[in-house]
């Protein structure tokens, strides 16, 4: 009987003493992100006194530390103070329960402190019922938890107010407040927010638009003239080009009339034919150039100096004449040679005649021998050269053409002899006066013109007039001797017709004006006759210079269009000449 009871008694005692149960970490928490506490629960002590130890190690090291403080946080807790707390690093925490019979280790827990932050409760939370004219409302006030360091921004607290009536089961969230206000006025509706961001944005927008407006105003002000012009364009009033009221006021009628004169009117057709060039003595630019003495090589024109004493002999092709003269000047030709180097006008001829008498063969004479290069003086030229090459100033038909400043033919009538003398006198003087080596003649010519002839009324353009010349004869040197038609010494027409008559223009080819010797009595002829003679003379004589056209530019166009054949068979080329 005792054996059974003793057996049962023994069994009971053995079951009671076991090693401790496995502890379990229940939670870890950090109230302010500076310290944290972990709590565990024991698994069972196994009937014996059991001790617990918390061990931890950080994620990047194997060193195991034991919990520094088991008391502060209470039973079965471990408190990590500031020194033992590291942020953003995993704590591997285990709890070991030990008793006399053994120990037990809890499951490890990985803890990162920043994820277990849970602030303390707000302090001094009060709710007071306040009576207002709008009705009763509850004023709730609180303070932030003491441990939370929101001042430095270490933690940020967000408050949320919840209310429920006594009989309700659920809480109602009334308002959220981000961190600032600690007092919330609650009357079932009110929520207070502070959004500083939007206000500063509006301020910026306002300032910007003000700035833009200022810039626009300033720009408009600056450009107000053009804006006015754009919006209110001015109505053009009647106006004469070149005409100024000041001129009227100043009282000089000549100037006024001058401005009214339209250059280039009446219009003349454009004749760039050979004959035009041929007949044309010179144009403005060339004359001026020659006078300046600058562009000698190209634009200088020479006038051939016929050394014949006969009147009417003047070979005046504008360009070549001047050019040759200039060359001579450059070569240091003699003084006297200049005298007869007046291009283009009959003046040349008579001047040269005079000089040639005194000075003998001129450097220009060889050119006379060219023959073919000669052309007739332009109709244009000067007051009629007489046999003595006196100019009759103020003759019936002053033959000046187109260079107003140079040729003055409204000048008072002076005796030819005086004129001539003037000329001779002037020349030497001017030779010394003008130091320019080349084209002195031209200058002196010009000078001569101005001095001797007198000055016309300023600004009055010379009336375009023409001087008809006729070919007197062709001398053996293939030089056309011309004679103005108004020349009193000129033989009557009929007699001319009896003799050699070279005044018929046959044709114009290759820049050559071919004249025909007309031996018939019939002086009325047209230039359509054959002009072989001239050509023969050219070839037979074999002039040093080829039979080049005197005219530089011309085309092969027949001059018919521009020519008007006069009744006497001479070509009236006045209409061809462009007005300058």
């Amino acid at each position: 009987f005792c054996l059974d009871q003793c057996f049962i008694f023994l069994i009971f005692i053995q079951i009671k003493m076991v090693p401790p149960g496995k502890p379990r970490l229940t939670s870890c928490r950090s109230p302010e992100k500076e310290t944290f506490t972990c709590w565990w629960e024991p698994g069972g002590d196994g009937g014996l006194p059991t001790t617990y130890a918390l061990y931890y190690h950080l994620e990047n090291s194997e060193t195991v530390y034991e919990c520094p403080d088991y008391r502060t946080a209470g039973e079965n807790s471990c408190f990590f103070n500031k020194n033992d707390t590291s942020l953003w690093v995993n704590y591997n925490i285990t709890v070991v329960a030990t008793n006399a019979l053994g120990k037990n280790i809890s499951d490890p827990v990985e803890v990162d402190v920043v994820y277990i932050v849970q602030p303390n409760t707000p302090e001094n939370v009060t709710a007071v019922v306040v009576h207002d004219e709008q009705g009763p409302f509850v004023r709730v006030s609180w303070e932030k938890p003491r441990t939370a360091d929101t001042r430095s921004g270490w933690i940020t607290l967000l408050y949320q107010l919840r209310v429920k009536q006594e009989k309700d089961k659920e809480w109602e969230v009334v308002g959220h407040l981000y961190n600032i206000l600690h007092m919330l006025k609650w009357s079932k509706v009110a929520v207070v927010f502070y959004i500083p961001r939007e206000r500063s944005l509006w301020i910026m927008i306002t300032i910007f638009s003000v700035f833009i407006v200022l810039i626009l105003t300033w720009t408009l002000n600056v450009k107000r003239n053009s804006v006015k012009l754009c919006l209110l364009p001015p109505v053009p009033g009647p106006k004469i080009k070149g005409f100024e009221k000041q001129l009227l006021k100043s009282g000089k009628s000549e100037e006024v009339f001058n401005t009214l004169v339209i250059q280039g009117f009446p219009p003349t057709t454009d004749y760039d034919e050979l004959l035009v060039e041929y007949l044309e003595v010179y144009d403005n630019e060339e004359q001026e150039l020659v006078l300046d003495g600058k562009d000698l090589s190209e634009d200088c024109m020479k006038s051939k100096s016929p050394s014949d004493s006969d009147s009417g002999r003047g070979s005046c092709d504008s360009r070549t004449l001047l050019l040759e003269k200039c060359m001579e000047g450059r070569e240091g030709s003699g003084s006297g040679s200049d005298q007869h180097q007046y291009s283009q006008h009959g003046e040349t001829s008579w001047a040269s005649t005079e000089s040639s008498e005194s000075q003998g063969p001129e450097p220009g004479s060889p050119e006379s021998a060219d023959g073919c290069g000669k052309t007739w003086p332009v109709v244009f030229s000067s007051p009629q050269p007489q046999t003595h090459h006196h100019y009759q100033v103020g003759a019936a038909k002053p033959a000046y053409h187109s260079v107003p400043e140079i040729l003055n033919h409204s000048s008072p009538h002076t005796t030819p002899s005086n004129y001539h003398q003037l000329h001779h006198q002037d020349i030497p003087q001017q030779e010394g006066r003008f130091s320019k080596p080349a084209c002195r003649h031209s200058q002196s010519y010009n000078q001569f013109n101005l001095d001797g002839v007198g000055t016309p009324a300023p600004g009055v353009p010379p009336s375009p007039s023409l001087e008809y010349v006729e070919v007197q004869r062709v001398n053996p040197e293939n030089m056309l001797l011309l004679r103005p038609l108004s020349d009193p010494n000129r033989e009557p027409e009929g007699l001319d017709c009896a003799g050699e008559d070279y005044s018929k223009v046959k044709e114009v080819t290759n820049n050559i004006l071919l004249l025909q010797r007309d031996t018939s009595h019939q002086c009325v002829d047209y230039y359509s006759q054959d002009l072989d003679n001239q050509a023969d003379q050219c070839t037979t004589q074999q002039p040093p210079h080829p039979c080049k056209p005197a005219v530089h530019q011309s085309n092969s166009r027949m001059p018919h269009e521009g020519m008007r054949v006069m009744g006497n068979g001479y070509v009236d080329s006045t209409v061809l000449m462009p007005s300058y």
Binding site: E59, L87, Y115, S152, W154, T156, I180, I207, I215, W218
Partner: protein
């Protein structure tokens, strides 16, 4: 008033306005930046929770150590006393370095999220995309803050990310995705903390903000 003086006056007014606005502007910029960083962190936390909802237990065993994060080499303050001693520009530079280090990895996460072997794949995908957008906005905002603060030196740490694939099989892809996300969650918290400290440091005029 002449036109020239009028213009000068306008320019002066505008400059004064801008200067005054700039003083407030830095605070607002930091406020906005800290809000963005807060959003970043909360997004990453919710993503982690979504992933954990259906995570294979074997995955937790396979998970790499957190010290394996590519940003672990960056020296950062570990507690409050250290953090509050750091000057502002260094705090900003830490935040910017971390942010910069995550632009490439987030692109990888974004591309992998759509093919994840997870029942919450769509939610994860959309949240990852949102994460990427927020990171770009925050990066731009911090650039503004940097220029506003007028720091002399721009010492950003280089934290390169060399991985371009999460793995071959779907489990390892899932595990690596989880691991990358966990690294990012922690770094986003760092950024958020630094920026909030910076914000309260700069808001001396308005103490009620902090």
């Amino acid at each position: 008033m002449t036109q020239g003086s009028r213009l000068y006056f306008a320019v002066t007014v505008l400059m004064c306005a801008f200067v005054s606005i700039n003083g407030v502007g830095l605070n607002d910029l930091l406020e906005r930046a800290s809000q963005l960083s807060d959003k970043l962190h909360s997004l990453s936390t919710s993503l982690t929770n979504d992933l954990d909802s259906h995570f294979p237990p074997v995955g937790r065993v396979m998970m790499p150590r957190p010290s394996m994060c590519h940003t672990s080499s960056l020296q950062i303050p570990n507690d409050k006393d250290q953090a509050l001693k750091i000057p502002e520009d260094e705090l900003l530079s830490l935040a910017r370095s971390l942010l910069l280090a995550w632009s490439d990895p987030l692109a990888l996460l974004s591309s992998e999220a759509s093919s994840l072997a997870h029942p919450e794949r769509n939610t994860i995908n959309s949240k990852t995309k949102e994460l990427q957008d927020n990171i770009n906005s925050l990066g731009a905002g911090l650039e503004h803050v940097f220029h506003k603060m007028g720091s002399s030196s721009d010492n950003l740490s280089s934290l390169p990310f060399y991985t371009n694939s999460l793995g071959q099989d779907k489990t390892s892809r899932l595990v690596n995705f989880h691991f990358l996300l966990s690294c990012f969650r922690r770094d986003s918290h760092k950024i958020d903390s630094f920026l909030k400290v910076l914000r309260c440091r700069a808001a001396k005029k308005r103490p009620e903000m902090c």
